[in-house]
């Protein structure tokens, strides 16, 4: 009959439609999954490399200790130590005099601040920064000086109480991303007596506006000292800044007074409190804890003696009364003149700034980062119980959603720098705490693009950036990589299996990544599952080093260029950018022996000469090192 026939048709039609829909949904989900894998892989690459970089600094720290001992051995008193190892206590009047001598010219159209700062000043500052203006060095120094005065009065761990009516907002790493800070203020309101904030460290480095972020935060601190709390992060460390971008930013924005700013900044960092304790129950610290974390010790130590994670305290020599001298060769005056924390105190604070929570029980060294430790849920439980705490809020790790909860709700990670690795890599978040209730999280993702990009485009961007930095790691070990490949090819056929390639690459680069799936993107030729390793890599960045330099040496210099930069800066006592050839040679010798590098001094000399950098027997080390910067071919990004 007509009716049932059409009903039957309808049913068939809708069945068909359902099947078609499922097909399309299925296909799309697979497509999405493949993109998601690529995105995660890219993030893993970023994270792996970031932590490997941090690990490198352990080596640098040891080198400094080595250098220090070397200097101290050869000098009879503290006076001859390079200033960097023994800063003279600065007299207040000196600093203020120096700053007051800096004139702000009439041609300066940026914001002019009046001290003591008011809310109006800060608003002025924010508006100026939104217009990309740069605050004059005079005001930067004044803000830093005033901030130091306030911070000096604060205890190591600040105790605050939450209130029923007003919520407290806690933000994590900002890393110089001014647009994220402004986004938080937009969503959550500016700091004030009614709107309290805790900023949990890592305000600077990596992003382009570390100075502006710092100025905004310190200004709010000056205006609302009882409502804005700034905890020290592992990047509030002048030596870290040399590696991770803030020092460079300062020298670029403040060519004339940059050095003064760096000196004052170094000190201001040491006065930042280590943590905040809310209602005696919620501890807010930047990194994490260790099994021996002792709040009492942390509260009592002289925190301003913690200058840098790269400068651990030297173990004092033991006085040998029988022979009337110190059994170690170090002369005591030079050593004792340096104000140091005890090793125990120093470890306590490094753990607070560098540790990461993990699900594995126990406490063990944080080998990824080279500082602090990994702590398990049992450690958390013990420390919380021991000190009567309810939970710990920390930052320090980038999370895709901007926050993370682990250890059964007792450890919260909050990270406020969205797009940390690259546009589209992750969201940022902040949390709000009110009296006795569970924290509420707010997420965001700042974006400079006016049009929304498709998922595919966003993943491409993140992935390309990840491969760029991977390329940088590979190029500095190219010689070693080829050597390793040859080992797996005893018959010299020019090809090795994919899995051997993966093994070799992981060995050389010391990065645990999915090399087998990354391989097709990194090498030029793969045939039948074999890598033709002599055909080279795809799209590796290049180094513009002069031709006279030998390949092995170039790679070494590229690899250690950021460490070398720090070392040169330290030797350069008057911050002129120049060090003498003698100093250069002496340092170079030490460096090579300590890092087990096999480069002859004469080669380096040759190179320096050929580059015609010798100006009156000095080396302009910035120029020297620029030659070993890495340039990417496809784009013009450095």
């Amino acid at each position: 009959m007509g009716c049932s026939h059409s009903v039957h048709n309808e049913t068939k039609k809708s069945e068909k439609a359902m099947k078609a829909a499922v097909l399309i949904q299925n296909w799309y989900r697979c497509y999405k999954a493949r993109l998601e894998l690529r995105r995660r892989q890219a993030l893993n690459i970023f994270e792996n490399i970031e932590y490997a970089d941090e690990q490198d600094q352990m080596q640098l720290a040891k080198f400094f200790a080595f250098m220090l001992e070397h200097y101290v051995k050869n000098k009879s008193s503290a006076d001859n130590l390079p200033k960097i190892f023994n800063p003279e206590p600065k007299r207040k009047s000196d600093e203020e005099t120096i700053i007051s001598l800096i004139e702000v010219p009439d041609t300066y159209y940026g914001p002019r601040l009046k001290f003591p700062l008011t809310f109006a000043d800060v608003v002025l500052l924010i508006d100026a920064f939104k217009e990309n203006q740069i605050l004059h060095a005079r005001y930067v120094l004044e803000v830093l000086l005033e901030a130091k005065k306030i911070l000096q009065q604060m205890p190591n761990i600040i105790h605050i109480s939450s209130t029923v009516s007003k919520e407290l907002t806690i933000c994590g790493d900002i890393h110089g991303k001014l647009d994220d800070l402004f986004l938080i203020f937009y969503k959550n309101g500016l700091p004030s007596g009614n709107n309290r904030y805790v900023f949990n460290g890592d305000f600077v480095d990596r992003g382009q506006n570390s100075m502006e972020v710092l100025m905004v935060l310190f200004s709010f601190l000056l205006v609302y000292p009882n409502d804005v709390y700034l905890n020290r992060g592992n990047h509030e460390d002048y030596l870290m800044n040399m590696r991770y971008g803030f020092t460079k930013e300062i020298m670029q924005k403040y060519k004339q007074h940059g050095a003064k700013i760096l000196h004052l900044l170094e000190e201001v960092y040491t006065w930042l409190p280590i943590g905040t304790l809310i209602d005696k129950k919620v501890l807010v610290i930047h990194g994490g804890i260790a099994d021996n974390t002792d709040l009492t010790v942390l509260e009592q130590m002289k925190r301003n003696r913690m200058r840098s994670v790269l400068m651990p305290p030297l173990v004092p020599a033991v006085f040998d009364p029988r022979h009337g001298h110190f059994s170690h060769e170090l002369p005591p005056p030079a050593m004792l003149a340096m104000e140091q924390l005890t090793k125990y105190e120093w470890d306590q604070i490094v753990n607070i700034l560098w540790s990461d929570p993990r699900s594995r029980k126990g406490c063990y060294p944080n080998t990824s980062r080279g500082g602090g430790c990994y702590f398990g849920p049992d450690v958390t439980e013990n420390i919380l119980t021991k000190f009567g705490l309810k939970m710990i809020i920390r930052s320090h790790e980038c999370k895709p959603e901007g926050f993370d909860i682990c250890h059964d709700g007792k450890i919260i990670t909050v990270f406020s720098a969205s797009n940390y690795y690259e546009e589209g890599s992750n969201r940022g978040a902040y949390l709000k705490l009110s009296h006795d209730t569970t924290p509420r999280f707010f997420q965001y993702q700042s974006s400079q693009i006016t049009q929304a990009k498709t998922l595919h485009e966003r993943v491409d961007i993140v992935e390309n950036a990840a491969f760029r930095i991977l390329g940088e790691r590979m190029i500095i070990r190219k010689t070693n990589l080829i050597q390793a490949f040859r080992k797996y090819d005893p018959n010299d056929t020019g090809k090795i299996s994919l899995s051997d390639w993966a093994k070799a690459t992981e060995e050389v680069l010391e990065l645990h990544l999915p090399w087998m799936s990354l391989c097709p993107r990194l090498v030029k030729t793969i045939e039948d599952g074999y890598v033709l390793y002599n055909m080279g890599f795809k799209d590796l960045p290049v180094v513009r080093a002069p031709k006279v330099a030998k390949a092995g040496m170039v790679e070494t210099l590229v690899r250690y260029r950021s460490d070398l930069k720090i070392i040169f800066n330290i030797i350069d006592k008057d911050q002129s950018g120049l060090i003498s050839m003698d100093e250069f040679r002496a340092m170079w010798k030490l460096f090579c022996s300590h890092y087990n590098i096999d480069i002859e001094e004469s080669h380096v000399d040759q190179l320096a000469h050929s580059m015609d950098l010798n100006k009156d027997g000095s080396i302009d080390f910035n120029e020297f090192l620029t030659a070993f910067d890495v340039v990417h071919r496809a784009t013009n990004k450095l």
């Binding site: 296909w27 892989q41 087998m516």
Partner: protein, 177 residues
């Protein structure tokens, strides 16, 4: 493509009792590939992943199970008392089997096109935004709002507010390669 190669090698020698050296090598490579995909989501490097990521892992290895089929696969590898985590130990053999038996193969382009044509009841060569949203969020194994938005961001032609599905598919194929 590399993955497919190893599956072919593995299958090709299966006839000779599957014991040849090549087959063994093929199996090893396959396992490595699966392990790598797994490890991307293994945040703590302890050979476990959150069960909610299993779907992504399986699909990223080139399989296209439906949500229902995925459910079944997860049930196979879950612990007796579900912990919210899946261990590599259980996942690996299951995945090797799925891949070597060539289950849940991806949908060929022409079938995909046919599917769109089925939904295009007026046979105009395109779907309106409303039509697509209705089908994707109400029929079959419905999309979440996020999934829908994402698909639209690439599929929707903003000028006509329609989905020109032939062009869309052609673009997706290029993107993938």
């Amino acid at each position: 493509i590399l993955l497919l190669h190893w599956i072919l090698v593995f299958n090709a020698v299966d006839g000779n009792n599957g014991e040849s050296l090549q087959a063994k090598a093929g199996l090893l490579e396959l396992q490595k590939k699966i392990k790598e995909a797994f490890e991307v989501f293994d945040h703590e490097a302890n050979d476990t992943v959150d069960v909610r990521e299993i779907g992504t892992i399986i699909r990223s290895l080139g399989c296209c199970p439906s949500e229902g089929e995925l459910h079944d696969l997860i049930a196979e590898v879950e612990e007796e008392e579900p912990t919210g985590y899946i261990r590599l130990e259980k996942f690996l053999p299951m995945m090797v089997k799925v891949l070597s038996e060539r289950r849940y193969r991806p949908i060929p382009e022409d079938l995909l096109l046919q599917a769109f044509e089925v939904l295009d009841s007026a046979k105009e060569g395109f779907l309106t935004k409303e039509e697509l949203v209705k089908y994707m969020t109400e029929e079959g194994e419905p999309f979440t709002e996020e999934e829908m938005e994402e698909m639209l961001s690439a599929a929707l032609d903003p000028e006509t507010n329609t989905i020109q599905y032939r062009d869309y598919l052609a673009m997706m194929v290029i993107d993938e390669n």
